[in-house]
Each structure stands twice: as structure tokens, then as C-alpha cells.
Amino acid sequence: MPEITFRQALQRALDEALENDPDVFVMGEDIGKYGGAYAITSGLLEKYGPNRIKDTPISEATFLGAGVGAAAGGLRPIVELMSISFALVGFDQIVNMAANIRYMSGGQISVPLVIRAPTGAGMQLSATHSQSFETWLAEVPGLKVVVPSTPYDALGLMRTAIKDNNPIMFAEPAGLYGSKGEVPDEYYEVPFGEASIQREGGDITLISYGHGMRVLHTVADELAERGIEAEVIDLRTLNPLDMDTLVSSVQSTNRALTLDMARRTGGAMAEVTSRLQQKTSDWLDGPIVRVGADDVPWPYNRSLEQEVLPQAKDVLAGIESAYGL
């Protein structure tokens, strides 16, 4: 299979959608003439013109809300946020408007809206620019939250997202844009609500999403050298959440660890862990281990930031202390 980057996978998904559906358009800051802060939309303005590739003012609250309105009006907007950190200035439009309008109207309105944004820390952008607000949005009924970890999933999940008739937060781990992976030329989609078992093993279940998967694979390799077979699971969508895959894995491994690359407290794994213990307490050999970023604002200094980010060593230490492996 041909290898492409995570970025190229997203570009392909957008290009396809614009090509095949005239109701699809893209708007955001500097996505057109500038080509996009992370170049996901580069070339689209030239190909589809300013009517479908719309540069917006720096007014997140308003172009997010306008995305909801355009969707309610029959279009299929794809809105780019330059960073998920900037979602906060428009949070009301996502949480109170996009997520609630269908319910408040008794089902009269549907909002086929995709909000795309790079997420996560690790690039020394410090406290205000390294946030991972997909963890909060995953808790909002009415929204769906997607976080791919491979080019294959990025393309397949984005195809599903653009076809979906609900407001979707599509969070893209910024550190992965340049990463490569195999992607078939044949059309495929990746459904929501199905975690992917990226590696099978019977000794311990390792759970994360987004750029946490790289850490887990490093850990799994290390464990394998010691003869311990880890099952590595990528949630892929934080909402809907595929608890079944997690539960059945843990029931066979009797050990579990969850990893958040975002801050540990209130990370997506707080919910996953607490649900998992309710469903697997009779099978577990010990407590479910939680590893996540330290509960501090993101520092600029590289060594400090790397130390705040969870490392393979932290995961291994957690496994050691809980299960003596």
C-alpha cells in the first residue's frame, strides 16, 4: 500500500468532499491565500475558489456560530480552527449552540458541521497554545469527538465526519501531521464508535488515543522484550465511546492502563477509567493505572514541557507499581 502523511490524508479527505459535494465548503483563518497555518488546506483556494474556501476574520465565536447556521441552512461546512486552544473564545457557540439546537428545537434542526483543529502540546507553544479541549467537548451530548492517530484513520474518519449529520469536533494531534502510514487507494471509511486494536496481546490492555498511541507502542515493544504481550487500543472517537472493546480486552488481560497526553485530571481517561472499573472490577488483578500529563500549565522550556508530557518510562513505571510487571 502507498504511504502518505497524516497531513496528506486530511488534504485528500477535504479535496474529495469539495469535489463530490457542492454543499461542502471550508472556512477559517488564513486557510485560503495563506494556505493554512499547518497547510492542510493549501491549494484548495486555487482549485475551488473563494466561494468555497473562505478566509475569515479572527472572530472564532462568529465563524463557528456561522458554521452552525450554514449547516442548519442546508450546507455542510468544514470550519478550521487554527488551534483547538482558540476554541475557547467561541466555546459558547460550540457547547450551547451547536450541541443544543437540535434538542431545543425538538429535533427540527440538524447540524452537519465539522470543526477541525490541531490539538495537543509538545511544540513549546506554552500555556495558552498547547491545550487539548477535545477532552471537554467529548463530554457534551449533541457533539461527536474524533481524534485519529494514523493517516489511515485520519482519512477514513474524516470521510465519515463530513458525511455525518451532526456537529463534530475533529481534533488533529499537531505533532502527527508529518507522520507517515499506509493508505489504500480504494475508497474506505472508518466508522465512529469503534476502537481499534492496534496490537494484540493477552497480558495487559493499554488504552489511549491520538499521539498517546506512539508512547503505547514504544511501551509495548519494551514489554515484549520482557515476554509481556500488551494489547494496544486506540479509542479513535472519544464520543461515541466504544466501551465494549475495552471491557472485553480487559476481561481477557485482567490488567489495564489508560494514557492521556492531555492533563491527567479530567482527561478523557478519567471517564474511561471510572467506567472500566465499574464493568471489570471482578476481572482486574489490580487497580487500573492512569498516566497523563502533569496537572500544570504548559511550560515553554523544552525539557520542562517534555517532562510534563507522559513518557514511555512513566507508563512502564505505572505498570510496574500496579502489577509488578
Partner: protein
């Protein structure tokens, strides 16, 4: 009437019959809104209506005048003080009342309540309770009209208090830059809850000059004069349909009661209220109709009788309607 220029009402005056029907319809709508709101007040006290309830009493001329100028394919977006706009758009009186009662027959099956009235078939897109939150939504609907290359437009209502939200500024700018087919309709009733406009806003009690700073054509109108409102709206609509981009209208009006049922409105003095009550469109407009012998007292009495019955029926309908089933809790979250 001639002086009223291009408004449909006056165009119609070349044709007495049509004109009369239209004028009587405006009266019917205003009276319907007034009586509907009175009924809401009663049923709030009785405990049938709960949560926050914001009455439109005093502002009837704005909804009736502005909305009568629209086409069925135009969108309307408004805030939580939305009953008047809903009724002027001819949303089913029974289903509006049933929504306030939280019944299964309500427009939103009782899930939205007074602040969240929707009827997509009539392109009535809510009813929004976060101050200023409806403005970006309206811009998006206007963008849809433009993108789909129709000449439909979006009319968005908001209050003087909403102007102090950042979304007002951002939406005015976006609409102007993109030349969106949107009509910004400010109902300046001089108070945002207990805050008199001049206590919370720079630049005085007039808003339309500020709107002009976005390069948007802005005008002011007497919100107690339904025909004047209708006339400026006709003009604005014409201009927007012909591709002229956004227009801003400020209507000077007044709510005769408190902000919500919880508010005794102690922050206003009697004299101010009296000044505006003297301009009550439900006194002045019928007076004009009879004085200019456009309608007889009988015509008007007939209208009132029909409306009174409509409202009694609506309350009865709401009261007798079933509560939504518990399963409704989990529906309408995802499409």
C-alpha cells in the same frame, strides 16, 4: 398614508380593499400577541408555565411590522423574548402555547420552552437564550441563502443589551465583509434587564450611527408605529434582495412589563412608562384605522372576538395536551 412612501401598506392604498385587509391583519397580529402574552402571564402565576418567561407586551408593532414584510423562504432568528416574533410569523398558536406548557404537542415537544421557539417549516430558527448568541447563527443562515444563490434573506432580532456582546461586533463585521443578505433588527427598548442603555453603553442611546461604522446602511424607526416599521423593513428587504448586503434597523420601543416574570421593574419610574403607554400601538393604531375610516369599530371588535377565542382555545389545547413521554429525554440529541 402617501407620505409613508414605498411601504406595501401605502402601495396598497391605491387599492382600498387589499390595503384594508392588510392593515386589519396587522391589527389582528398585534392584538393576538398582546392577548397571548397576557394569557402567558396568568398561566405562569397558575404554574402551568415555568422557568424564565419574557413578555413582549409593548413591542408588538415591531414584530408585526417587520415580519409582515418577509417572504416565506426568508429566515427569522431571534432571542428569548420570542413569542411576538413567533406569532407574527404565524406559528401555530396552539403549539406555541403548548410549548410554553411543556407539552408533547409543543413545537419542540416541550423540550425548549418559552425561550426556544422553533418552526423550521416556517423558517423560524429560534428562540435563543444566550444574549448575542443568535447573531452568528443568523449570519450562517444568511451565508446559506447567499451560497445557494437564492434571494432569500435572514432577519435577526436582538436587544440593546445584546449589542454589548462581542458577537454583535464580530457578526456585523463578517456580514459586511461578506455582503451577507441579513437584516439586523435591533429592538431598543431602552433597558437590558435593569440596565438603562446609557448606563452600560458608550455613544448614547442611539445605536444606528455605530452600525454605520461597519459600512452598513443603518436607520432608526419609531417602534410603536407598525406602518413605519413595515415601511423601513420593506425598503431594507428590497435593498438586501437586490444584493446590497446587510442593513441595520433600530426600532425605538419599550416593554411595558418587567424583564421577566421575576422582575417588578423598580428601576424605571412611572412617568417613563406613561410616556410609552401613551404610544401603545394597540391604542394608537386602531384609533388611526377608525379615524381614517379604514375600518369600523365593528371590524375591530370582530377581530378581537376571534383572537380572544383563539387564545382560549390555545390555552385549552395546551392544558389538555399530554406530557411528553419519558423516552423523549433521549431523542433529538443526534440526527
Amino acid at each position: 398614508m402617501k407620505s409613508r412612501g414605498k411601504s406595501k401598506a401605502s402601495k396598497a392604498s391605491t387599492n382600498g380593499a387589499a390595503d384594508k385587509q392588510e392593515l386589519l391583519e396587522l391589527y389582528r397580529q398585534m392584538y393576538l400577541i398582546r392577548e397571548f402574552e397576557e394569557a402567558c402571564g396568568e398561566n405562569y402565576s397558575k404554574g402551568f408555565i415555568r422557568g424564565f418567561l419574557h413578555l413582549y407586551i409593548g413591542q408588538e408593532a415591531v414584530a408585526a411590522g417587520a415580519i409582515s414584510a418577509l417572504r416565506p423562504d426568508d429566515y427569522i432568528v431571534t432571542h428569548y423574548r420570542d413569542h411576538g416574533h413567533a406569532l407574527a410569523r404565524k406559528l401555530d398558536t396552539n403549539r406555541v402555547m403548548a410549548e410554553l406548557f411543556g407539552r408533547a404537542t409543543g413545537l419542540s415537544k416541550g423540550k425548549g420552552g418559552s425561550m426556544h421557539l422553533f418552526d423550521v417549516a416556517k423558517r423560524f430558527m429560534g428562540g435563543h437564550a444566550i444574549v448575542g448568541g443568535q447573531l452568528p447563527l443568523a449570519a450562517g443562515l444568511a451565508l446559506a441563502c447567499q451560497y445557494q444563490e437564492t434571494d432569500a434573506l435572514t432577519l435577526v432580532f436582538f436587544g440593546d443589551g445584546a449589542v454589548n456582546q462581542g458577537t454583535f461586533h464580530e457578526t456585523m463585521n463578517l456580514a459586511a465583509v461578506w455582503e451577507l443578505p441579513i437584516l439586523f433588527f435591533l429592538e431598543n427598548n431602552l433597558y437590558g434587564m435593569g440596565s438603562a442603555v446609557d448606563r452600560v453603553r458608550a455613544g448614547g442611546v442611539d445605536f444606528y450611527p455605530a452600525a454605520q461604522s461597519y459600512g452598513v446602511e443603518a436607520t432608526v424607526v419609531d417602534g410603536m408605529d407598525v406602518l413605519a416599521v413595515r415601511e423601513v423593513t420593506d425598503k431594507a428587504v428590497e435593498q438586501i434582495r437586490s444584493g446590497g448586503g446587510p442593513v441595520f434597523i433600530e426600532a425605538k420601543t419599550f416593554r411595558f412589563q418587567g424583564h421577566s416574570m421575576a422582575d417588578p421593574a423598580k428601576y424605571r419610574d412611572r412617568s417613563e412608562l406613561e410616556y410609552w403607554e401613551a404610544r401603545d400601538p394597540l391604542k394608537t393604531f386602531p384609533k388611526m384605522l377608525t379615524e381614517q375610516s379604514i375600518a369600523t369599530d365593528e371590524d375591530l371588535a370582530e377581530i378581537r372576538k376571534a383572537v380572544d377565542e383563539e387564545i382560549i382555545a390555545a390555552v385549552k389545547f395546551a392544558e389538555e395536551s399530554p406530557q411528553p413521554s419519558m423516552d423523549e429525554i433521549f431523542t433529538d440529541i443526534y440526527a
